[in-house]
């Protein structure tokens, strides 16, 4: 396995009185896609939000690129090279696609070559450049949320359920985009769509009850129906 880019050791997170993460141990190697799987409420989104500093860990360490970032504020974490695509997409609806992208490019005006690269993945972004993000379809908003995350070179991108609620045709296009994207950056992907996850993932971690209960290669999990059924209560075949 490549060197670790992100490491979580014994991370606990409380939200109000609820103890959501109960000692998460996770390693994301540099390069490729690591998929975080698990049933609803297992703690996947909380894990991403804790990494991003949107919720502070009450215990444990989060190390990114050799630096401890647990408890660091969100802007500092983002400036350190982590981008975040939340489950809600969180595009700025009153801003145009262009304005969303300008805001995401912190180092100055968006690089035209980089934009062309993004338009290659998501042509709709070029077509609707001057449209308010609020009028885009769900799939287009997801494209914008991902485009925003990659407008500048990031070391790690956290993406939370990008295929949720999207039409199969759009999911297919996303698979192509992500396959290309992972050559450029490291991705930690939370996903419920096992087929999507299995087609892209290099590494996998499965969460349950606020802990990581399995870590390994995605090929290993995809090829082991018994393991899938035990960890996820499903098999890849059942989803094809």
């Amino acid at each position: 396995m490549a060197e670790a880019l992100l490491t979580l050791e014994g991370v606990h997170t409380h939200i109000g009185e609820y103890h959501i993460l109960q000692g998460v141990d996770l390693v994301v190697p540099r390069g490729g896609i690591t998929v975080l799987l698990g049933r609803n409420g297992a703690g996947k989104t909380t894990t991403l939000r804790t990494i991003m500093g949107l919720w502070k860990p009450s215990r444990g360490t989060v190390t990114f690129d050799g630096r401890a970032i647990g408890g660091t504020d969100t802007p500092t974490i983002a400036q350190g090279g982590i981008a975040y695509v939340p489950e809600t997409m969180a595009v700025f609806a009153d801003l145009t696609v262009e304005e969303n992208m300008i805001l995401a490019a912190r180092q100055g005006p968006p690089d035209p070559a980089r934009l062309d690269w993004i338009f290659g993945f998501f042509p709709a972004m070029k077509k609707f450049w001057q449209y308010p993000a609020g009028v885009l379809s769900g799939g287009q908003k997801q494209m914008l949320a991902i485009s925003r995350a990659i407008i500048e070179k990031r070391t790690l991108i956290l993406i939370d359920e990008p295929t949720k609620g999207l039409a199969p045709a759009i999911i297919e296009s996303m698979i192509g985009a992500f396959a290309e994207l992972k050559r450029d950056t490291t991705i930690l992907l939370v996903e419920q769509n096992f087929r999507f996850a299995a087609s892209l993932g290099d590494q996998v971690a499965v969460m349950d009850d606020g802990r990581v209960v399995h870590r390994g290669t995605m090929a290993g999990l995809s090829g082991d129906e018994t393991l899938q059924t035990r960890l996820l209560g499903l098999s890849l075949d059942a989803h094809q």
Partner: protein, 339 residues
């Protein structure tokens, strides 16, 4: 960078809805009022007075709507900045009475400009202290925000009594701004023209900043989803403080105009106008500067026409306006997309 595959993703043309209906409301109200008033000169006087009043309320309310939208803070202490702005201006204008009473437009305006600058800077700095000491500890706690900011307003009013005395103060207009231009039977008060000009300038300035600058983009994005702005790497807390200071300074500027309009000054001048200010930002849509502008004009028009046509219902007229607008558009005329 390698070439990427084209996608087959949905690219249907989105429908952009041009929502012009609220803009037509003031025109419709004015049109309905004309036959009821029954006299062109009276109608014009009432309409110009409403526009002037609306612009002053807009200047006061514009900062508060951004504070509401961006920071999710219910600042009932906004009235303190209105009053302190007016008192600071009065403090500047008294020793400059030679300039304000001179028969020179330039000297009159220079004195007024100095007073406005001192009021805006003073209330801006006070806004910084207010945010750090009073508002910061209660972010995200609406009930406590109402209590402590209301407390802040009361403390500020009492401090005004201590510093400037409890009696009513005269706020005399500079010579050149007294009186009116007359066109036939119609008299156009000079100060009302100035108020309209200042309101329009503030509105134009805010729209340019919000729509043409990176700072404006950040503010608009922050009003929608401050968490995502932080996740993009921006320190929203600094923006909060900056917007709070700007909002306080605008309240100070509005306070100067309001006091000159009333030509008297009391410590409760800010608290008294806050009901109108809250109606304006609720009618306009919390966080929307354009909605606030329109809301201010609507509120002022309703207040003026109803006070002339049916004085007994004048007090309730703006509440009724708010109820009517919220029944039509529960989020206000131009709601800001939220989180």
């Amino acid at each position: 960078m390698t070439s990427a595959p084209a996608t087959t993703a949905s690219d249907a043309i989105p429908k952009v809805r041009l929502d012009l209906l609220p803009i037509l409301l003031p025109v419709a109200i004015a049109a309905v009022a004309y036959p009821l008033v029954g006299n062109l000169t009276t109608w014009l006087t009432l309409t110009i007075a409403a526009l002037a009043m609306g612009m002053m309320i807009f200047v006061i309310a514009s900062g508060l709507t951004l504070v509401f939208g961006l920071m999710d803070v219910l600042n009932f202490g906004h009235g303190a900045f209105i009053a302190i702005g007016a008192y600071l201006a009065m403090t500047v204008l008294i020793p400059l009475s030679g300039w304000t009473q001179a028969d020179s437009l330039a000297l009159n305006l220079l004195a007024l400009l100095l007073a406005v600058v001192v009021a805006a800077i003073g209330t801006g700095l006070l806004g910084w202290a207010f945010e750090r000491v009073i508002v910061k500890p209660v972010y995200g706690q609406h009930l406590k925000q109402i209590l402590v900011t209301m407390g802040g307003l009361i403390v500020a009013e009492q401090l005004i009594h201590v510093i400037w005395g409890g009696d009513q103060k005269p706020m005399t207009l500079p010579t050149a701004l007294r009186g009116a231009f007359t066109i036939g039977d119609f008299a156009l008060e000079k100060f009302r023209l100035l108020a309209v000009a200042v309101g329009l300038a503030v509105f134009a300035g805010m729209m340019i900043v919000l729509n043409r600058t990176r700072l404006g983009l950040l503010i608009r994005a922050g009003v929608e989803n401050s968490e995502m702005v932080e996740a993009l790497g921006y320190r929203i807390r600094r923006l909060f403080v900056g917007v709070f200071m700007a909002g306080s300074a605008l309240a100070g500027l509005g306070g100067v105009l309001w006091a000159l309009y009333r030509e008297t000054l009391t410590a409760s001048i800010g608290g008294d106008v806050m009901v109108l200010v809250f109606i304006v930002i609720i009618v306009g849509g919390l966080g929307s500067v354009g909605g606030c502008f329109l809301g201010a004009i609507l509120v002022a028009m309703t207040a003026n026409y109803v006070a002339f046509l049916a004085p007994k219902v004048a007090l309730a007229s703006n509440i009724l306006l708010m109820v009517a607008v919220l029944m039509w558009r529960p989020q206000g005329l131009y709601p800001v997309a939220k989180r």
